[in-house]
Symmetry: C2
DNA sequence: AGAGTGTGACCAATCGTTTGCTCACCGACC
DNA sequence: GGTCGGTGAGCAAACGATTGGTCACACTCT
């Protein structure tokens, strides 16, 4: 197999009998260039014939711009991030940017490695899909002057951010359960170092308070974001002397774990225990009974964050705009029997 | 916000009072260089202090190698590809390669656009996760001498390939149903332009034949790869004068559609109709009843394909090796009542 | 006819690294 | 004392594209 080298400007110039710069100007439609119609036509024909595509590497070096964005996610198997990615790619593609996806698997060290590597690749900007509160990586990005947008979770004030109103989401979930008559409502909480978890929990507390329900600390347990951890946490809740009649989980994965735990205990959903999840992942609607959950406009997250990032890049300024979208309650069989 | 420029070799050289090339040799541990211990120590200290990282863009230009691989997939929301990607990233990361993910959404045009763009980005190699039989894009890759590996689906002979033995998988699925006493076994088939679909169907036919069951053409319907299309196809099968008592679907998505259609018809799974899917996606085990399916070592696909691709790149030769792994039957409630 | 003005294209530096060559210097050997 | 060899480091040319300057030429106007 012979390995081709794509044609270069210099070779093209030799074939056309002009200087490389002239071709470059034709390719880039440089308005400064005054080129005779005849020469231009000749060059354009040659371009067409050879299917010339400028070497992006060389161009990046000269322009100090790579036209590459990167998205950093903690878990590629989580469909949430797949959807955000699609939104990003959509917008980036339109504007001539490529997108690199980097998966950290939740490891802070792999995140650092990726950040370093992306820096030396000179990506034009970064979209971080899951940072913690006061995240040192975000601080580092700011120090380095690397353009970035946070999506879904935020780190602190001052960074461009796109996400949902998780406080409102937490309230909607809890109000829904209250409206069905529940009084002993548990919460499978996320980590207190993560903005979404904190906000959803605050929403839960606020909804209880406005309904005159006294919060009971034992009903709030930190349950992680995985099916497994959710299942364990729910198991403990069901062993309480006065178990809850409803549970609001920080995400759908934990909710699915709770789902399994409740059925394991021989209880019925929603008659004995009702469940509300968060995110509306594809699996949610396939459970039996299907999961009531909060839908967030995830694809939109991706689109908006890409737009904000590209705006920063082209304007050269960091714009600490925060975009907050509203979640929507999707009521299914896990709270209301059909 | 001040935008930093990362430090360059030239600046470093000025600070150390040596020539840039000397620093470059220290950074790259160039064996040719004889550097005094004293100078080396001074440079290394400076490197440490400034946290120097070579500009990958410039290096790529000079080396004519970008250390970037790309993976092209048709549907990022399909967990199959997420798992393959993780395997690729794992190996690539170890060897110092980055991975770009490009999502075509099933559009041949977007695939072509991506291929062009990746070519002009001078990626070192490509992994294609879903090609069709005799795919023109694959032909183009060969013509251009672009290193590539096909994964999961193949295009024809002559390309490096990693996948599973889909013929065997089709047989295993069908034999399993036969062994349970089924005689009227339907097949929700995939496209005849896709290698996996063709092989699985051939496996299905072979298993019927060896059991002395005469294939009935109406029981084989092309059903696509989506839940929706699977549901429709299964609906039609259930309207037949003599409906099937079992169905083997080309993938889990179609199987889930069939699942829904069967329940819609008021029939029981597996008592009235048994189902076997393919791929063992995470949702499969969460259905009620959970789905019997074929598990393929997907992560392994990713790892092996990345290794093969990197081997091609470093050796400079295209090695048309084909690696075929064995699928495994996972028996669950959709074929055998618990 | 000479100055001035456009026009069309080329020149050369630059982006940051890498790497084959060259070169100065020093000690040693004949 | 002159040559030789080894050591440590600098020089400069790439890689391919971009872009501000420059330049030759032709035409116009006074």
């Amino acid at each position: 197999m012979t390995s081709f080298r794509p044609i270069t400007l210099k070779e093209l110039a030799a074939r056309a009998g002009v200087h490389p710069s002239t071709i470059s100007r034709v390719v880039n439609r440089d308005p400064v260039l005054r080129v005779s119609a005849e020469t231009r036509a000749r060059i354009e024909a040659l371009l067409e014939e050879t299917d010339y595509r400028p070497d992006v590497v060389a161009r990046s070096l000269r322009l100090r711009q790579t036209f590459v964005l990167a998205m950093i996610i903690p878990d590629i198997t989580n469909p949430l991030f797949a959807d955000i990615f699609m939104g990003i790619e959509e917008v980036a593609g339109e504007r001539g940017y490529g997108v690199i996806l980097a998966n950290t698997g939740g490891s802070a060290e792999r995140e650092r490695t990726h950040l370093r590597s992306l820096q030396s690749r000179r990506v034009d900007g970064l979209i971080l899909a899951s940072v913690s509160l006061r995240d040192p990586s975000v601080r580092w990005l700011r120090e380095q002057g690397i353009k970035h947008v946070l999506v879904n979770r935020y780190s602190g004030p001052g960074d461009p951010f796109v996400g949902a109103d998780d406080f409102a989401g937490g309230m909607m979930a809890t109000r829904h359960l209250v409206s069905l008559g529940h009084r002993r409502i548990a919460h499978l909480a996320g980590s207190s170092g993560v903005s979404t978890a904190v906000q959803r929990r605050r929403g839960y507390m606020a909804a209880l308070r406005e309904s005159g329900i006294a919060p009971e600390p034992p009903l709030v347990v930190e349950a992680g974001y995985l099916e497994d951890t959710g299942r364990q946490a729910m198991g403990l809740l069901l062993e309480l002397p006065l178990p809850p009649t409803a549970v609001f989980a920080v995400n759908d994965m934990a909710a699915m774990g709770a789902h399994a735990a409740i059925l394991d205990h021989g209880l019925r959903i929603p008659e004995d225990v009702a469940i509300v999840g968060y995110n509306d992942v594809p699996l949610a609607s396939r459970l039996a009974p299907p999961l009531t959950t909060l839908r967030v406009p995830v694809r939109e997250f991706g689109r908006i964050s890409a737009e904000m990032l590209i705006e920063q890049i082209t304007s050269g300024r960091s714009i600490p705009r925060r975009v907050v979208l509203q979640p929507e309650l999707v009521i299914r069989g896990s709270t209301v029997a059909p």
